[in-house]
Amino acid sequence: MITFEQVSFGYIEEGSTLKDLSFTIEKGSITALIGANGAGKTTLAKLIRGLIRPTSGRILFNGKDISRMKTSTLAAHMGYLFQNPDRQICKNTVGEELDFTLEKTVPEEAERERRKAEVLEALQLDPEGEPFLLSRGERQKIALASALVHRPELLILDEPTTGLDYKECTQIMEYVKILNQQGVTVVMVCHDMEIVLDYSDHVIVMHDGRITADGLTRTILRDAKVLAASALLPPQIIGLSALLQADGYTGFEEVCTVDEMTACVEAYRREA
């Protein structure tokens, strides 16, 4: 779906923020971009969306060079959630906010209404709510809703869960997962390793403008060396299984979830 070919990018002429990136994002996957603050995740996400153009290299979207396409016409194919939701919100009510996206991306009236109703229902938003009077977490949800309401092929989320409580967090991630199962490819920047582990299937680790690892979530998050080099901590369950492994217990090599951990421990108890 997305292919980077030796892409570099710099905000200023001298020195580059992203250096020589090459990777592919498969159709239908959920890819997490992880890395420390300032690693270049947002910059990479904006490159994918076409908001900024690479200084060298090519970015292909479905095989076509996106530098040749207009950013605004790509809107129908891609949804983008900004790190700062306030940048995105521009209308007086939640309903209008969603209409704003739909007007430009979905031609049929009936289809618009259907999608709007579905998103309002799934994220439990009030169409009459006034975005600027709501809390930060609520605004985050509105921004997310307006980024995905038109059901784009590719959904790019810059820290979708930051500032949300546990319940909201699960709610939106579950909805993203449903969309993914219906064929939407997702790229998300995320600092919460538990969410990365629970929801993504691929991970791209960034450090200082470079990609230090790229692969399956389960493999990458077990790689203590890679994570440490990018100042990241593995999810707790993986940390625990690594500790048990280090203590000489076997059978924990594949453990990534609480359920798998329980099963493994159960097996030990039965043996004993």
């Binding site: 950013t71 605004s72 809107a75 891609m78 940048r87 919100i89 430009k104 600027f132």
Partner: protein, 252 residues
């Protein structure tokens, strides 16, 4: 975003000078430019502006600023050249005569615009805003609240520019044609953005006001500043240069 009115750190003699003299000097240049009608003086001031850029180590920024100004300058030039129609005609566009007087007025106008914008913008880039407000408070007895308001207003310009750029980016991402080449279309698209920008700005300022309040804004007196601004030889020389320029323009 690093741009207009941002402080560019450095340690040149221009950086170290008293903030007051830098601002006064720019004002003197402004006055001189308004008084004079002499092309050579205006050209001289232009060179002086570039020299400020060179000595302040921000020549690149000066050129960038100049490039931005040139766009307005071209517009202004054409407008003036069309409007003024006294004197000998230089050439004709259809039936419309472009006169030598018109061209000269236009050139003067453009140079004047550049000459008064550059020094102030450059001097502000070479001055820490807090130093300026401190100097104004302790030396000129400007009430701190006013000095703070002025310096914050200047400080907020780049913040708003970044905000506006961010909002435009977000709109493009949602399918608004901000990536159009058509200038007028783009302006038309920016207008409706003023509301969200205003709301977010007011919110931001409200938060900033609360933040300074919490950090003891009202406890400040005029002697609170740790740096003491003082006129030294270069300051006097600079002011003398500015005054000299005015005298020159009056005499010519």
């Amino acid at each position: 975003m690093k741009g207009l009115m941002n402080y560019f750190p450095g340690d040149t003699f221009l950086h170290r000078m008293d903030p007051r003299s830098k601002i006064l000097f720019s004002l003197l240049i402004c006055i001189a430019c308004f008084v004079t009608n002499d092309l050579y003086v205006l050209l001289g001031v232009f060179v002086l502006d570039l020299l400020i850029g060179v000595f302040g180590g921000i020549f690149k920024q000066a050129l960038k600023l100049l490039k931005g100004l040139l766009k307005i300058a071209v517009f202004l030039f054409i407008l003036q050249a069309l409007v003024v129609c006294t004197g000998e005609p230089a050439f004709y566009i259809g039936k419309l005569a472009i006169t030598w007087d018109g061209l000269k007025t236009a050139l003067l106008g453009v140079l004047r615009l550049i000459d008064i914008t550059l020094p102030l913008a450059l001097m502000i880039s070479l001055t820490r805003m807090s130093d300026l407000s401190n100097a104004m408070v302790s030396r000129w007895h400007v009430p701190y609240k006013y000095a703070f308001a002025v310096t914050s207003a200047i400080r907020f310009i780049p913040v708003f520019t970044t905000d506006l750029n961010g909002i435009m980016e977000a709109q493009t991402a949602r399918g608004v044609e901000f990536d159009t080449r058509n200038f007028f279309k783009k302006v038309g698209l920016i207008v409706p953005l003023c509301v969200p920008l205003l709301i977010s700005s007011v919110k931001k300022i409200e938060t900033a006001a609360m933040a300074v309040e919490l950090r003891g804004f009202n406890l400040r007196t005029k002697d609170s500043s740790s740096k003491v601004a003082k006129f030294r030889l270069p300051d006097y020389l600079l002011l003398l240069l500015g005054l000299g320029l005015i005298v020159l323009t009056v005499l010519l």
